[in-house]
Symmetry: C2
Subunit: 424 residues, 2 copies
């Protein structure tokens, strides 16, 4: 097959703030931005985080603009002294500041709506660099600024997640699409595969991988209970990309068969919601060691009130017996982390929450509370439906957070399995 | 005051993986690493994320090693083809690979313990670059490799969070402390301040900030309902740092008084746990719009079972009335998002979960479901105790996730306020 390496519009993201470097804040912005950009065919080739230090910011901006066509900055544009992105950009683009009436009106409107008074620092938010085009930030007071040089674009945005998201969706991405004639089409397709570890799956797919055309890449993204298998096509021709990916997907279906649980790369909580809505069913939760995390995952999806009735976080044995009706005898005899208890929790949730199916978890999240028979990471999970209850014991890790995440995912995978196999 | 700019051991973190750039995975590793390094006095000056592309990795490694003394890599060392960190490091350090018996034994042990069989790809994990010192990864199969050149150190670690954490804690940080004689002491102190917006607080602190010695910096980290105020001292003299910070803290106490709700920079869920344990009290939750997120925050803390009895996620009105005993009349008359309903939810939780205090939330998380009277972002929050119930209505944003996070934080801040002011 004839193949050309094509020039693409490289995008780099620079996040600014000491709090990102010393770990006081986890950067969720750049992941969201990466996804939103990729969806529109902009390739993110690098992300850099620097502190509120002018020298470091200048160096990061300058080298990013040398490599990339688009550089997106977030953070460091609040009203306080520690935020120096605006003055740094003035230095970099060698310009001064001027007062923008348009920005001032926006700031005034936001303060008026929130019932707070303006002050000197908030008024200064209306000072903008001469070299930029101002983009109004309808979601907050700090304006977004757009710079162009030698056909390249640099945009400075607030670091506040919902302001950044509003700006990216409504302003930045539409303008970037207009500004750049993209000459490369990028297509991702991800399948979820169960029943294989990462390397066992790679061995199964050795021949498949060797036969892949050079413009398609395969990546393995292991997760609790499954491996996400991602095919990526990079080509100038959109039709070619769709055709080639469809062909490779078909090959994977033939090799992996039932091991593929879905070809839609959606979070498990979305897949659960879609399956429940399709069947007109409702669900509930009874959580011990996952402590509300499963309910929280399910309710993170807009519209989940159509199928999620509620949940009980039965952290203490009292709540397990008093609210969910678990037998106190079984609690004493088998302990809270046991098959009879987790099954009664799931069945109790069905009854108390009046739903069609329910998941339950009971385990030892750690770091303490493990025993020789039930070490930290031991988790019982049950799924109850009108047709009965299934349960399984898992052994995860010694790390609390990891155990909660894994148990939550496995519980929802078990529920999805019940929903998919038409047992409901 | 006499002041010297001191040379410090600069550390950079490079995270590797296409999944980080296209946003399939949120990078929580580098925040954890930043915090762990800062605690030990290593300054993280930059973080870079690149894809599984050799050219980009080489460039990122080379420029990081030019700027920094320590470069820590995570990711890209799994057994599959898309992981190329090891081969890239061989190119960069101009060396070959050899088979390490020691690593092989570790891989074999892990496979044996997990009951899985080895295969060709997992055996290959024992191939290590000639130029490195191998550090055993007791938490997983991919070995950690340590390279030195011109007095600088580069370490390549797995991207799997619990493996990276085990390695950093038990191997990397102790070795870095031994290898580098740190000549700069870094001290952070963070206070939580309520009752001010970010800029109003900055104006209040104008004089304070102007009088700060040049080796102390002040940063404003706004959060829902509060501003975290961080003082950072950078100096050669540990004693000087502690003294200077203590002096500035005392000044802030005099300026801000009761607006300081804590001087310990701990997550709100930790502060709640400490306050409950100190008073020998238990708590519970009744969540509607936060969907289990508050329970999940509370139970993320090890040992929370000592004070958290459980929670009810009453997403549907049925669960609000049937499980928590909210009056169906009030639900109909005032709607679920109302003062009477949220107060009855909190009191219901006290009774049903048999706890000493309870928080309840009911609101419109969005993006849909808003009305003119109750737009998206309207959230009622109540705290019930033996002494009665307090409640408050908030107006957050139009973004679902943000509303859940803000409502959860505000609910816990309201509870902390009740606990602090000895009303319990």
């Amino acid at each position: 097959m004839f193949f050309l390496y094509l020039r693409t519009m490289n995008t780099e993201i620079i996040t600014i703030g000491d709090e990102l470097l010393i770990g006081q804040v986890i950067d969720t912005n750049s992941a969201w931005m990466g996804e939103a950009l990729e969806r529109e065919g902009f390739k993110v080739s690098r992300k850099t985080a620097v502190g509120d230090v002018e020298e470091d910011m200048l160096d990061a901006i300058d080298s990013a603009l040398k490599r990339a066509d688009i550089v997106l900055l977030t953070g460091g544009i609040g009203p306080t002294k520690d935020d120096i992105t605006r003055s740094t950009l003035c230095h970099y683009f060698d310009c001064g500041l001027h007062f923008s009436d348009e920005v001032y009106e926006n700031v005034e409107r936001i303060f008026y709506n929130s019932g707070r008074g303006m002050n000197e620092l908030t008024r200064n938010q209306a000072l903008v660099p001469d070299a930029c085009t101002v983009i109004q930030n309808r979601a907050g007071t700090a304006p977004c600024t757009w710079f162009e040089r030698d056909g390249k674009v640099l945009v400075s945005m607030p670091g506040v997640p919902h302001e950044m998201k509003w700006l990216m969706t409504n302003e930045i991405i539409p303008r970037l699409k207009q500004h750049f004639c993209r000459d490369l089409f990028i297509l991702h397709k991800t399948m979820w595969v169960t029943g294989f570890g990462e390397s066992a799956l790679a061995i199964e797919l050795t021949d498949f991988e060797n036969e892949l055309p050079s413009f398609i890449r395969l990546a393995y993204l292991p997760q609790p209970g499954l491996v996400r298998l991602r095919l990526t096509a990079n080509t100038q021709n959109e039709e070619e990309a769709w055709k080639a990916i469809a062909l490779q997907q078909e090959k994977l279906r033939q090799i992996l068969g039932n091991h593929i649980i879905t070809e839609e790369d959606k979070p498990i909580e979305v897949l659960i919601g879609e399956a429940l809505l399709a069947k007109g069913l409702t669900m509930g939760t009874a959580e011990s060691c996952t402590g509300g995390h499963i309910a929280s995952m399910i309710t993170s999806i807009p519209g989940s009130s159509r199928y999620f009735k509620g949940g009980v976080v039965s952290y203490s044995n009292d709540v397990k017996s008093d609210v969910l009706g678990v037998s106190t005898e079984d609690l004493e005899k088998h302990g809270a982390v046991s098959q009879p208890v987790v099954e009664q929790m799931a069945k109790g949730a069905l009854r108390v929450l009046d739903c069609d199916c329910a998941v339950a978890t009971s385990g030892i999240a750690g770091p303490d509370g493990g025993t020789k028979e039930k070490p930290v990471g031991t988790v019982w999970i049950a799924v109850a439906t009108g047709k009965g209850v299934v349960s399984e014991c898992y052994h995860f890790t010694t790390v609390r957070d990891t155990n909660v995440l894994r148990a939550s995912s496995m519980a929802l995978l078990m529920l999805l399995d019940q929903l998919h196999h038409n047992r409901l």
